[in-house]
Symmetry: C2
Subunit: 446 residues, 2 copies
C-alpha cells in the first residue's frame, strides 16, 4: 500500500479535500519516515515536529468546516535553511551567521504558507549555499553526497520525508541535488520569484527553486509562489487546469560540444536514452553546440559570484574568519581582489551570452543535456559535485528543469535537464510533464 508520504502534492491535496486523508496522518507519516531514516540521511538541521502536528490538527479542524486555505492545505514541506521561516532559526549552514529566529517568512515561504503548507523544519544546506558540504547524505546510498547546496531538500524529498521542498540555486544548487537524489528540480526564470528573506550568495544569479517528485508539483509550487490568485480555483477543484497539463514538444535541441567531453559516460548514455525515447514519441531532435560566447561562462560566473559574495560577506568575514571554510574563504578573497573594470566587463559579457542563448533557444521548444557531470560522488571526496552543467542557465537566468531518467550501475540516480527561453517557464513545465511520462522513472530509495 502507498504510504501517505509517498503521494504527490496534487494527489495528497485531492485526498485531503475528499476526506480520504487527514493532515495529521500525512504529517505523522512523514515524521515516522524521518524517525527511521534521519539518523542515516541527516537531511534536517531543525525539525519542528510538535508545531507541525499542531498545525496539522488545526488544518483538519478547518477542513471539517470546509474551510480550505489553498491547494497545499495541510501538506508538509521542507525548507532549505537559508530561507527565513517565521519562528524558526536561520543558520545558513554557518557558525558565522547570526540570523537568529526569523520574525517573518521569506516571500516565497509566505506564499506557500498562505496556500496552506505546513513547514516541518529546515533542511541542510552547504555553508551559505556555496560549496562546503553539509551534513546530509544521499538516501540512495549514504556513502554518497546528495549534492548541494540544496542538499537536505533533495534528500528529504527523495526519501519521502516530506512531499516537496524549497531550494535555491546560484550555480547548480537545485538541479544537481535533484539529479543526485532522483527527484524533479525546477529553477525558474531570474527574478521571477522574490528572493526576499533568502540569504544571498550572488544576487545576479540567486534563484528560488523547488524540489518535488512530480513535474506537476513543481508547476503548482511555482504558480503559488508567483500568483496568489491561483488559490481560489485550486482549493475547490481536483483537476489540473489546462495551463498545467502536460504538452508534447515538437523540437528539442540536444546540446552538443564541449559538454560531452566533460560528462561521465554513464550520464551521456542516459541522455542518449532520453533523446531516443523522445524521438520514438515523435519529437524532432536537433543538434548544435552552445554559442561561442559560452566558452567563458565558468570564468564570468565565478568573477561575478566571487565579487558579490565578497560584498555580502565583507563584515562577517572580517569579524569571524575562523568560521569560514576554505571554499568560502577563497571565494571571498577572490572577490575582494576583483577589479571593478573586470566586474563590469564580466557583466557585459554575460549580457552577450543572454542574447546569444535567447537566439539559440528561439526556434526549439527546449534544450536537453545531462543535469550533472557525474553521478553523486562519494562523501570521502568532500565535494557536493560539479555544477558546471547548470551554471550557464543560472548565469543567463533562463528556466531549467531536471527530471530523473534512470539509475547508474551503482544504483544511483541520473537526471537530464530541459532548458527553455527566459519567461517560458510554463511551457517548459508543461513539456517537462510530458517528458516525465515518456521517461517513466518510478524508483525510490530505501
Amino acid at each position: 500500500m502507498t504510504e501517505a508520504r509517498e503521494l504527490s502534492l496534487f494527489t495528497a491535496g485531492e485526498r485531503l479535500r475528499r476526506g480520504q486523508l487527514t493532515s495529521e496522518a500525512l504529517v505523522l507519516s512523514c515524521l515516522e519516515r524521518i524517525e527511521v531514516r534521519e539518523p542515516e540521511v541527516r537531511a534536517w538541521v531543525a525539525l519542528h515536529a510538535e508545531q507541525a502536528l499542531q498545525a496539522a490538527r488545526g488544518m483538519d479542524q478547518e477542513a471539517a468546516r470546509q474551510h480550505w486555505r489553498g491547494p497545499l492545505h495541510g501538506i508538509p514541506l521542507g525548507v532549505k535553511d537559508i530561507f527565513d521561516v517565521k519562528g524558526m532559526e536561520t543558520k545558513a549552514g554557518s557558525q558565522a551567521y547570526a540570523g537568529g529566529v526569523a520574525d517573518a517568512d521569506a516571500d516565497s515561504v509566505a506564499r506557500l504558507r498562505e496556500a496552506g503548507a505546513i513547514f516541518l523544519g529546515k533542511t541542510a544546506t552547504t555553508e551559505f549555499a556555496f560549496a562546503n558540504p553539509s551534513q546530509a547524505r544521499n538516501p540512495w546510498n549514504t556513502a554518497h553526497t546528495p549534492g548541494g547546496s540544496s542538499a537536505g531538500s533533495g534528500a528529504a524529498v527523495a526519501d519521502r520525508m516530506c512531499l516537496a521542498a524549497l531550494g535555491s540555486q546560484t550555480s547548480g544548487s537545485v538541479l544537481r541535488p535533484a539529479a543526485f537524489n532522483g527527484v524533479v528540480g525546477f529553477k525558474p526564470s531570474y527574478e521571477d520569484i522574490s528572493t526576499r528573506g533568502v540569504v544571498p550568495l550572488s544576487w545576479q544569479f540567486d534563484h528560488v527553486g523547488c524540489l518535488t517528485r512530480k513535474v506537476e508539483d513543481a508547476h503548482l509550487l511555482w504558480h503559488l509562489m508567483r500568483h496568489e490568485r491561483l488559490l481560489d480555483w485550486q482549493s475547490k477543484r481536483d483537476k489540473l487546469p489546462p495551463s498545467l497539463l502536460p504538452h508534447a514538444p515538437k523540437k528539442i535541441w540536444r546540446v552538443r560540444g564541449s559538454f560531452e567531453g566533460e560528462s561521465s559516460p554513464e550520464c551521456l548514455v542516459h541522455l542518449e536514452r532520453a533523446c531516443l525515447l523522445l524521438e520514438r514519441n515523435g519529437v524532432k531532435i536537433v543538434e548544435k553546440s552552445l554559442p561561442g560566447s559560452f566558452q567563458s561562462v565558468d570564468e564570468i560566473h565565478q568573477m561575478i559570484m566571487a565579487t558579490e559574495a565578497a560584498v555580502y560577506h565583507r563584515d562577517m568575514f572580517a569579524t569571524n574568519p575562523q568560521f569560514y571554510s576554505h571554499h568560502l574563504s577563497d571565494l571571498v578573497r577572490t572577490g575582494r581582489s576583483m577589479k571593478a573594470t573586470d566586474y563590469i566587463q564580466a557583466r557585459r559579457q554575460r549580457e552577450i551570452m543572454r542574447k546569444d542563448i535567447a537566439e539559440a533557444l528561439a526556434d526549439v521548444d527546449a534544450a536537453i543535456m545531462p543535469s550533472a557531470v557525474t553521478t553523486p560522488p562519494e562523501l570521502t571526496q568532500n565535494t557536493t559535485g560539479d555544477p558546471r552543467f547548470n551554471r550557464p542557465w543560472s548565469l543567463c537566468g533562463v528556466p531549467s528543469l531536471s527530471l530523473p531518467i534512470g539509475l547508474s550501475s551503482e544504483h544511483l540516480p541520473v537526471g537530464v535537464q530541459l532548458i527553455s527561453m527566459e519567461h517560458a517557464d510554463e511551457q517548459l513545465l508543461r513539456i517537462g510533464g510530458w517528458c516525465e511520462s515518456v521517461f517513466g522513472f518510478n524508483e525510490a530509495p530505501g
Copy 2:
C-alpha cells in the same frame, strides 16, 4: 534692429514660416558672426559653412512649396564634438580617438535633423568630455573659460553664432557652461534621451542636454529629442501648446547647508536675489539642507565615473597613453585600480541618494541653488571650473535647469539652477519659463 541670429528658436521658426525670413539669411547671419568673433572665441572645432548654406537653400525651396520638415525647419544649430553627425568627423577633443567621419547621426542629432535643423559644425569639447580645457574662450571676456565640457556649445549660443546647441553632462558639463556664458542649460532625467552615438564618459551619469537662450527653446529641443510626434502641430502653428507654457511654482526649496560655504559670495548674492524675486512674485521659499547621504556624493560620483571611464578607455589608453592629458590619465588610472566590491557599494550608496532626494523633492515644485561655485575662472588657471554643484543631479539622474540671473562685478554671467524630481522634466521647464521672466535677464556678450 535685431539680427536674425539673435532670435529664439521659436521666433525664428515663426518668421521662417511667415516668409519674413529665409533659412539662407539666418545661416548667413550666424556665419557672419562666426567670421567676426571666432578668432577670439574659438567655439568651433569644425565648421561646415558651405554645406550649411546649401542645406539652407534647399530648406527655403521646400518652404516655397509649403513643405515644412518640422519646427526647426532651416534653423542652424551647433553640436558638441562628442556627438556623431553624419558626414562630420567626431574628434571628442582628443588625438587618441579615431572616431573618423560618422556614417550615421547620434539618435538625438537625428531627431533634430528630422525636425529640420541644420548643423553648422562641431563645437569644442574638453578632452573626452572630461576636465582638460578645450580651445574655447568665454565670449563675455576671452581671458576667461567658457566652462566645460560643453565649452564651445555654451560660447557659441551665448555669442549668437548659432541659435542653440547640443551638449552633454556627466558631472556639470551642460549647466556650468550655461551659467558661465549667460545662457539656459538643461539636463533632462537620466536615460530620457538616448545617448546612442555619443562618446561615453560614464554611462551611469552621461546625459544628453542642450544650451539655448530661452527656456522655451530648451523645452522644444527636449520635446523633439523625445517625441517625434510633436512635429506635426509645430510646423503648422505659431503658438506654444499649453504643455509648453510657463507655469508659476508654489513652493521652491532653497538648498541650505555645506554648499553655501563652498560658493563664492557673488554667486550666493545672486541666488539671494533670485529667491527674493520669486518671493515677491508669490512663491513660498522653504529652506533645508541636502539629505545626509549626500555628504559622500563627490566621492561616490568619482568612484563610479573613474571606473566606467577606465572600462571605456582601456584599450585606447593602453595604445596611446601619450595622447592623454594628466587629468584623464589620472582618472583612468584611478578607475583601473578600483575594487569591484567598492564599485558595487558605491552604486548602492547612489541608490540611497536617489531615494533620499526623491523624498526631499516630493513636496516642493523645485529646488534652487547656484549653478556654479564661482564665476568663470581665468584661462591661466587651466580649469573649466568646479562642477560640484551639478554633480549631485547628474548622479541622481534628476532634471536640472540653469537660468542666467545677472552679471558679476567683472561683467561675467552668473546662473541659478532649478532641480526637480526624476521625470518631472516638463514641470521643471514650465516653472523655469516662469522664473526666467521673473529674473528678466536680457544681456548678451560682445
